[in-house]
C-alpha cells in the first residue's frame, strides 16, 4: 500500500505580510516537488536575485522578464512562474496562485511555488502547468496551504 500523500507549505522567510506572499509546497512522498530544494541551494548571488524578484511581485510590481502568469489562457490562468538565468541557462520556478483567506481577506494572494525546471525552448511546457493544476485542486494541498494562513478577524469587526 503506497504511503499516504503528505504536503507541507512554508512561506519564504519574511514574505508574509501585505497583500501578497510567496511560499513553497513540498511533499515527503514526491521528490518532483523540487522548487524549495532548488531555492535553498541557490548560490548567494542568485539567491539575492531571485528573492529580489519575489519581493517585486509581492510589492505588486509587473515585469514579465522576471515573472509572469498565463492570464489569457483560461485553463492556466492560476499558474505562475518566476524566471532567472544561471550559467547561461534559463531557470524557472513554477507555481500557482491561491487566495488562502477567502472569507476574511479575499484579496490576499499567495504564490505557491512547486517545481523548478530549466527551460531550453521558447515554448511553455504545458505538462508542468497541467501538474500544477492537478495540485492546486487537491484538497490535501489546499489544506496544507490554508493552514499557514488562518482566517483572521476582519477589521470591520474590529472597528465595531
Amino acid at each position: 500500500m503506497p504511503p499516504a500523500r503528505t504536503f507541507d507549505f512554508s512561506l519564504v522567510a519574511g514574505q508574509s505580510v501585505g497583500r501578497r506572499g510567496v511560499g513553497f509546497l513540498r511533499s515527503d512522498n514526491d521528490a518532483s516537488l523540487n522548487g524549495q530544494k532548488k531555492f535553498r541551494e541557490l548560490k548567494p548571488a542568485r539567491d539575492k536575485e531571485v528573492r529580489s524578484r519575489l519581493d517585486y511581485w509581492i510589492a505588486g510590481g509587473t515585469n514579465p522578464r522576471w515573472f509572469h502568469g498565463w492570464p489569457d489562457l483560461t485553463k492556466y490562468k492560476e499558474c505562475f512562474t518566476f524566471k532567472w538565468k544561471e550559467n547561461r541557462q534559463h531557470q524557472r520556478l513554477y507555481g500557482f496562485l491561491h487566495h488562502p483567506r477567502r472569507r476574511t481577506d479575499p484579496r490576499f494572494l499567495v504564490c505557491v511555488l512547486v517545481y523548478h525546471d530549466e527551460k531550453n525552448e521558447d515554448e511553455t511546457d504545458f505538462s508542468i502547468l497541467d501538474r500544477l493544476n492537478e495540485l492546486r485542486k487537491d484538497s490535501l494541498v489546499i489544506a496544507a496551504i490554508n493552514k499557514a494562513f488562518p482566517e483572521e478577524r476582519s477589521t470591520k469587526q474590529w472597528l465595531q
Binding site: G14, A59, G61, D105, T155, L159
Partner: protein, 176 residues
C-alpha cells in the same frame, strides 16, 4: 499559523544593498526601454564595455554611489537617497521599492522644492490609525507610514480619505 520572520535583507548590509541596487537597476532598464537604448549604447555613453554593463545589470550588488549617479545621468535622470521610517524597525517586510517613492513624487505633481509642497500638504493631515486602516480597506490592514505616505501623496485619494474619515466618524458616533 504563518510565522513572520525577518526579511532576507536583514541578513546583512550587503543583502540590503543588493536589494536597493536591484531596484535601481530595474529603473535603469525601464528607462533604457523607454529611450530605446541598448546595453551597447549605454556602455558607449559610460565609456565602459558592454560586458561590464551586462555584468552590473545582472549582479548589481557592487554598484557604488558614484556609479549609480553616472548611470542615472547618462540616462537623463537624477538620484536621491531617501531615508524613511515605514514603521517596520525590525525589517520584517524589506525595503520599500524605489519606484513607489518615484510614483508618489510624480503623483504629488513632481514638487521641486518645499514651497511646492505647501498647497498640497495643507489639506492632508495625518489622521488616527483607525482612519488609515479604514481607508486602506479592511483587507489590507496596513497602516504603516509608507502606506500613509502613498495615500497622502495623491490629492484625489487624500480628498476621499477626508470623506471616508467623516463617514466613519459618523458611523462610530451612531454606534454602528
Amino acid at each position: 499559523m504563518a510565522t513572520v520572520t525577518k526579511h532576507w535583507t536583514s541578513r546583512s548590509a550587503e543583502d540590503f544593498v543588493y536589494r536597493i541596487s536591484a531596484d535601481f537597476v530595474l529603473q535603469v532598464e525601464k528607462k533604457m526601454e523607454e529611450e530605446g537604448m541598448n546595453q551597447k549604447e549605454l556602455a558607449g555613453k559610460l565609456h565602459v564595455s558592454a560586458g561590464r554593463i551586462s555584468q552590473v545589470l545582472r549582479n548589481p550588488g557592487n554598484l557604488t554611489l558614484k556609479k549609480i549617479v553616472e548611470y542615472s545621468r547618462v540616462l537623463g535622470m537624477k538620484v536621491s537617497i531617501v531615508a524613511y521610517d515605514d514603521g517596520d524597525p525590525q525589517n520584517l517586510n524589506g525595503p520599500i521599492n524605489a519606484e513607489i517613492f518615484n510614483l508618489c513624487w510624480k503623483r504629488a505633481g513632481s514638487p521641486k522644492d518645499f514651497f511646492a509642497l505647501d498647497n498640497f500638504t495643507s489639506d492632508v493631515r495625518p489622521l488616527g490609525p483607525i482612519y488609515q486602516i479604514y481607508f486602506n480597506g479592511y483587507q489590507d490592514r496596513s497602516n504603516t507610514e509608507a502606506d500613509w505616505m502613498a495615500i497622502s501623496c495623491d490629492p484625489n485619494k487624500a480628498l476621499s480619505l477626508s470623506t471616508s474619515a467623516e463617514k466613519i466618524t459618523r458611523a462610530i458616533q451612531k454606534g454602528l
